[in-house]
Symmetry: C2
Subunit: 229 residues, 2 copies
DNA sequence: ACAGCATAGATCCTATAGGAAATGCGATTC
DNA sequence: GAATCGCATTTCCTATAGGATCTATGCTGT
């Protein structure tokens, strides 16, 4: 408590539960917490040197993202890995939501958006492709940023909520797949196609290119799943 | 605490936070908590005669549904009413997700599902249409059940998550609209059309009829919004 | 009269303590 | 040898207390 929370640049400051949330999210992201691992409230509190109360609150929020699961009186644990079938289901769900996002985002795309999409693609190209989580993170961040920007630019808070409901799962699949970057070249090419549609202002084309992209991801992920087994 | 939690029929028992969650949800549903109302943690704890800790956890879960909003160090408040534009956005989002649900659910619909959909329509017909929340609730419950059954029958947990991300909002719009049942006849007819498509096993038709239904809801809700102002 | 400030109350946030339940381990019995 | 029972430890869950922050009211000064 002695540590003052200065530099609260914005109007909304942060409380401990927020920091715990970020810490847990980070641990889930870069693989320190593996699928199936129990997440003890008291244990995590000791580890982060806080009391159990903010940990409890952070976990309640995380549960909504699907990253952890809760059983009453038995605690939380990291959500299990996806089966190939579930992976296909996830991609099917993305095929429902993200092409619609692309269509609507393209309708009112400006130069700033296309510029930032371009930047995300450049970052994707520049990102290291090593198998370690730390390296992986930069790649994933650029990929996620590309899709999220489109979701946000659709200008529909409800579609964004739906995307968020999936977003966390997409991340988990990527990281816990443990495969590293296997489809960078394809992804870069497909992202570029989507960007071109945005620059042309062709919303219907943008929708189609997003479909193509996710179909591609789906097929490649299925292939990767087979390799893994 | 003296009250034993017997009758734990299932494997997962309930804890206090679950009860608080249900109580808050009920209060939000039937209008006891109006839009914009602050929800004090300590106050709610006193009212429900529990400690603030489970209230805090229940509110953290509720925040994910969009029913309440949180500002750090300033507490929770019931999410504000929708503007007509937001209402249109919500319907657009439903137009993205629910037709896809209908399509996929129809693909493996059995007699049990159609029977239960039929029952939901019957309940819709039988429900009172008074303006009071208590009366309204039965109507809403049957309507929500119809859509939820379809979402669940799509057999895709991720699409179901996406639907859930919207579901809470749909409820809020209905109840906080404060308009009572204004479109029962239309809704019953449109639901019946969807059911027919299910019985015929025509997935593409089911998708289209769901589109028609939500388009109808969208138009009627826009009209209602104008009436309200 | 109105703006600015100080104080009081309420509220949020975190830590701590203790009871209740679940898990793990060893001893006992068939 | 395998299954079951009992006990100890761990963990979850809830309550309580106190510090930090926010909001509102009243006061002062211009």
């Amino acid at each position: 408590m002695a540590t003052k929370n200065q530099a609260s640049g914005g109007v909304s400051r942060q409380v401990l539960a927020d920091h715990v949330y970020e810490a847990l999210l980070g641990a889930l992201m870069d693989g320190r917490l593996e699928a199936g691992t129990p997440v003890s409230i008291d244990g995590m509190a000791r580890e982060l040197d806080v009391s159990p109360t903010p940990v409890r609150e952070a976990l309640a929020r995380l549960e909504a993202t699907g990253m952890v699961r809760r059983m009453a009186l038995r605690g939380y644990r990291v959500a299990p890995l996806f089966s190939p079938e579930e992976l296909a289901d996830l991609m099917d769900a993305r095929l429902v939501i993200e092409p619609a996002n692309a269509f609507m985002a393209c309708k009112h795309a400006d130069q700033e958006l296309t510029g930032r999409l371009q930047q995300a693609i450049e970052d994707l190209k520049a990102a290291p492709r090593g198998p370690s989580f730390a390296e992986f993170r930069a790649y994933w961040e650029a990929d996620e940023r590309f899709h999220r920007m489109i979701a946000e630019s659709a200008n529909n808070q409800f579609l964004l909520s739906a995307y968020n409901a999936l977003g966390g799962q997409v991340q988990r699949f990527r990281f816990f797949g443990g495969l590293g970057v296997t489809d960078a070249d394809y992804a870069i090419a497909e992202h570029t196609e989507i960007l071109k549609a945005f620059e042309a202002g062709d919303a219907e084309l943008a929708r189609q290119k997003m479909i193509d992209h996710i179909e591609g991801v789906k097929q490649r992920s299925q292939h990767d799943s087979e390799v893994r087994n």
